[in-house]
Amino acid sequence: MSTAPLPIATARRRRSGLVFVRATGPAGITSAVVIGAAMLVAVLGPTLAPETPYLGQLSYSYVGPTAGHPLGFDGQGRDLLSRLLVGARTSMLGPLGVVLICILVGTLLAVSAAWRRGSYDAFVSSGLDVLFAFPGILLAILAATVFGVGLAAATLALAVAYTPYVARVLRGAALRERSQQYVAALEVQGASAVSICLRHLIPNMLPLIVAQATILFGYAMVDLAAISFLGLGVQPPNPDWGVMISENQSGVVQGYPLSALAAGICIVLVVVAFNILGERLYEQAQAERR
């Protein structure tokens, strides 16, 4: 038996994303701010950068902060701050690509499997289970061998590696929604499967999908940075935080850690922000389901 309802709430048009984020508490808000800043930098990087990130003077190699160069120079004598700002682009773009592909394909597979059930579901699930066995970095190395190095191949490889995880989580949620009686009611009304999935199933899964995407971004960023670090992703001289760590390793040993550390800190900050926000959004998504 239920408890009596709360006073009638008139429907707000789909809660704006900001209200949603605000409800995640101070940690969530801070993370959102950090992410927002990172995105801004990713878009405006080249305009913000005081110097060009590509040219440098070797004589300035590992020189510390000076006037006009607040973070100093990297191993090749290039302005560190400028490289960080411009590097944000690929560092954020790659994970974005991974997340977009994963979520799209994952949602498609999850919803279709949950809707059709039976042998189709079994087939898709088994296929995903097989893919599950491959760690992302391994696939990236494979992709590099086959398609050559570069951000595109690495992004694609990671997307393939992550999709089974996303599909599995979303499939559970899709199955739950599928078994709700309002879906059956719509079927009896004669609504098409596609319209039910697009108009009802997926919108009811949206909080979960958003939470998943956010968490995924963080993981993708770390993996892509690692892949670039290994030399299989973004190639030097392109500024990319992962590449920068690799390039400036020698500086750490020589006693000039700032260049490598700065890039590392950027990665950590953004990844942690995505993780925190993602976890908060996930909790909210769970709580929202009554």
Partner: protein
């Protein structure tokens, strides 16, 4: 003066069917629960007494507070709940119990729930579940505990007890599992059984069977029972006295035999009238307008049922009525005396 005390005052009419030795005494029980940050009242000054071997029914719709009452008695309220008033079992305060005394109390007061599957560990065998309290709290040796379990399973109509003890919960149907729960509840030889809608989720034929079992066992073990249900007819059929709750308050307590023909509160009459009759096809049912109020929605200075009552007068809106004695029962209706006999009618006298 609280209703329970009034009832025991010499000179007052004896309680309908009430035993002289009160096993459980609840006085002015108040329960607040944290809901979205604020404390919400779910029970308003509830008073009830149950004698040894007596069955008392607690009937109400959603939000009436009936389940909360049982949980408060068994110390099963959710964390953050605030409790006021007193609950006395065997003249000892229940709320003050801790540690070993609390565990012993749990052996004396058993509870069975609506959904047995939600209250039993699915990965352990029935036997482990059943004998757990015996073995851990009362230190009964395994073989003896098992023997008693098989004996009780037989009492609830399960013959091949030894085999059942080795089965897992998912191998039993809902009805069967509920019988196991009853048997488990009785293993510690409790003196009071709290049954929270034990038959709501089972078929009506199974319900009849389960109620018959409870009836038999109660007499055999001289067990007192608080039987919670939304079904007025069921409570009246198996309990000596029935209490009716609305919006977190007890609005009537009456001997079951008299509840149907001579109710003391308009809500009770309305509840009985709203139910379709299996023997007669009515043209339309007498439906109470509006919806049942939850405890926190009850106005503090008027009768909670006033908004829906066909007999409402100005005096009903002056203050929250207290429970008063009438003809051996209790009622919260200020007009009860004059309305007796035509509670169910739609026009006032």
């Amino acid at each position: 003066m609280s209703a329970a005390r009034m009832a025991r005052h010499p000179g007052a009419a004896p309680f309908d069917g009430g035993a002289t030795t009160s096993l459980l005494e609840v006085e002015d029980l108040v329960v607040d629960l944290p809901v979205e940050g604020a404390m919400r009242r779910v029970l308003h000054e509830g008073s009830l007494s149950i004698g040894a071997g007596e069955a008392v029914g607690l009937v109400g719709e959603s939000g009436s507070g009936k389940s909360m009452t049982a949980r408060a008695i068994d110390r099963l309220l959710p964390p953050g709940a605030a409790v006021g008033g007193s609950i006395r079992f065997d003249r000892k305060s229940v709320m003050a119990l801790t540690g070993a005394a609390l565990r012993r109390f749990r052996g004396e007061v058993a509870m069975i729930f609506q959904d047995p599957r939600a209250h039993i560990n699915p990965v352990r065998r029935i036997g482990d579940f059943m004998t757990e309290a015996l073995r851990s709290v009362q230190n009964v040796p395994d073989a003896e505990a098992e023997r008693r379990a098989v004996g009780l399973l037989e009492s609830v109509g399960i013959q091949d007890g030894r085999r059942r003890l080795r089965q897992y919960p998912h191998e039993l149907s809902g009805g069967l599992l509920q019988r196991v729960m009853i048997a488990t509840a009785l293993l510690t030889q409790p003196r009071l059984l709290l049954a929270d809608e034990p038959t709501t989720a089972v078929d009506v034929t199974t319900q009849a069977e389960v109620m018959a079992i409870l009836d038999d066992l109660r007499r055999e073990f001289r067990l007192a029972m608080l039987f919670i249900t939304h079904n007025l007819e069921l409570a009246a059929a198996v309990c000596d006295r029935t209490a009716v709750m609305y919006a977190g308050q007890i609005v009537e307590v009456r001997a079951s035999s008299r509840l149907h023909d001579d109710p003391l509160h308009p809500y009770t009459a309305a509840l009985a009238a709203a139910r379709p009759d299996i023997a007669v096809t009515a043209n339309r049912l007498v439906a109470i307008p509006g919806r049942p109020l939850s405890a926190f929605e009850a106005p503090p200075d008027a009768c909670a049922f006033a908004a829906r009552c066909p007999h409402v007068r100005d005096q009903c809106l002056e203050r929250r009525p207290a429970l008063i004695e009438l003809d051996g029962g209790l009622t919260r209706c200020v007009r009860a005396e004059e309305l007796r006999g035509h509670m169910g009618s739609e026009e006032a006298p």
